[in-house]
């Protein structure tokens, strides 16, 4: 059954428990980082940070600062561009719950997924020549548990459950918040399996795609040129065959020296 993770950023306190729980469950190493003048740490997703709380500071009129927090991770698209682009059969797959998973044993490090993802999620690791990202804890959810980040979330900002129920909850919450509050995710790429309740406009949040779609280049590449390559070769084979049969080969004149 399809599941959805609901991230209600209005409840997030930026404790980053989800970041730690993700590292712990997935046995991801810690990374050395440097203070860059923001609480966001590390500064971006990495091959070993699949879950990152992004911090946006908004100056207020009275000279203070307002915080916007957003837990960033793979959105687990229903129509994943990464899976369309991946050259290795079965390397990127979608589970019954809706998790989009990279099988790291099969990954060849081509980075096609990195370059087509509308949310810019997958990260390439040079040392292992493989790409990594959030797995939706598919090893947990396929066994009836909830993802590690949802499990650990104290303020209840990250919840997990059946798709329809969570989408209904999201819309109810957005309505209750009022103002600019909106639901993000259920309408894009045939619905993502991670959806947000955003109290502010999309553009206010760091690195959040405004109208995420599968890039047109992916359609041109995989749905037009890919079949055309076979058609072109096929047409040339048929064409040359009938040229031989109908027009015949061009022979040098008889008796030519």
């Amino acid at each position: 059954m399809e599941k959805v993770m609901l991230i209600d950023v209005s409840k997030c306190t930026a404790c980053r428990g989800c970041q730690v729980a993700c590292k712990q469950w997935n046995r991801l190493p810690g990374e050395k980082t440097q203070q860059q003048g923001t609480h966001q740490n590390p500064l971006d997703l990495t091959p070993f940070t699949w879950n990152l709380v992004r911090f946006t500071e908004i100056p207020t009129k009275d000279g203070g600062v307002r915080w916007l927090f957003r837990k960033d991770n793979c959105m687990h698209c229903t129509d994943p561009a990464c899976q369309r682009a991946c050259p290795v059969p079965g390397c990127i797959f979608t589970t019954a719950e809706g998790a989009v998973v990279i099988d790291k044993e099969k990954c060849i490090g081509c980075e096609y997924c990195v370059n087509v993802c509308p949310f810019e999620i997958p990260r390439y690791d040079k040392a292992t020549n493989k790409v990594y990202k959030c797995t939706f804890c598919w090893d947990r959810i396929s066994n009836g548990q909830i993802p590690a980040c949802a499990k650990t979330c104290g303020p209840g900002a990250v919840t997990f459950g059946p798709k329809e129920k969570m989408i209904a909850q999201a819309h109810a919450r957005a309505k209750a918040l009022g103002g600019e509050a909106m639901v993000y995710g259920d309408k894009y790429v045939k619905g993502t399996h991670v959806i947000y309740v955003l109290p502010e406009k999309i553009r206010m949040y760091d690195k959040l795609a405004i109208n995420p779609t599968i890039p047109i280049s992916v359609y041109l590449w995989k749905d037009l040129l890919k079949p055309l390559s076979v058609l072109g070769i096929g047409a040339a084979l048929v064409g040359t065959f009938f040229h031989y049969v109908i027009k015949g080969p061009k022979r040098p004149e008889e008796g030519g020296e």
Partner: protein
């Protein structure tokens, strides 16, 4: 003069040209096979041909791309001067398409290469640039995703164009034009063949205006 020259035959290509051709042909074919293996999940048996499977097939595709890329530079040296221009006869050749598609009274005489072959080489030149240029940065994606994802499109476009060209090139070089294959085989062709396919070149060689 070559003393081992078979009777009534004339040497149509240098050993350099023939070797360059086969390096290009071999690398091109290998790139096509491995490239199709990477494009179609249904052709995964191609990856099984390599010990190590997909990662090795991809790596060999990349390395072979370098071989192809460099081999074409030699091709430019070998054939650039005879192909990268059109003359008056070439314009006439295009009007009758070399007599390949309908009956024509007379096919305009060609030099070492006819207008069709020249066009083939020019398109190959263009797509050599496209395939090597996109391939390098697909291998080492140093630009932003918004740019890199368009390289995939142009690389695939090259497959469409070169795939069709390859088939037609093979046909015209073998059973479509009997006697032609040896230009890239041992190099010797009959004078009848040369008169039919490259009359201007034959006159130039026989009068000593060009060696080959």
């Amino acid at each position: 003069m070559n003393m081992a020259k078979p009777k009534n035959l004339i040497l149509s290509s240098t050993a350099f040209e023939r070797v360059v051709h086969w390096v290009l042909a071999g690398s091109c074919l290998f790139l096509f096979l491995t490239g199709f293996g990477l494009m179609f999940h249904s052709l995964s048996f191609l990856a099984d041909l390599f010990p190590g499977g997909y990662p090795i097939m991809k790596l060999l595709h990349n390395i072979c791309g370098i071989v192809f890329g460099i081999a074409f530079l030699f091709a430019l040296v070998a054939w650039g001067k005879d192909t990268l221009f059109f003359d008056e006869d070439d314009k006439k050749w295009f009007r009758v398409l070399g007599g390949y598609l309908w009956e024509v009274k007379e096919v305009p005489e060609a030099g070492k290469f006819n207008a069709g072959q020249k066009t083939f080489f020019m398109v190959l030149f263009l797509f050599w640039f496209v395939m090597v240029g996109t391939g390098i940065f697909m291998w080492f994606p140093i630009f932003s995703p918004a740019i890199i994802r368009w390289l995939y499109v142009f690389h695939a476009l090259g497959v469409v164009v070169l795939g069709g060209f390859l088939v037609i090139h093979f046909y015209l070089g073998t059973y479509g034009n009997p006697g032609t294959f040896q230009v890239m085989g041992h190099g010797y062709v009959t004078k009848g063949w040369a008169k039919k396919h490259r009359a201007k070149w034959l006159r130039d060689v026989e009068s000593g205006r060009r060696s080959i």
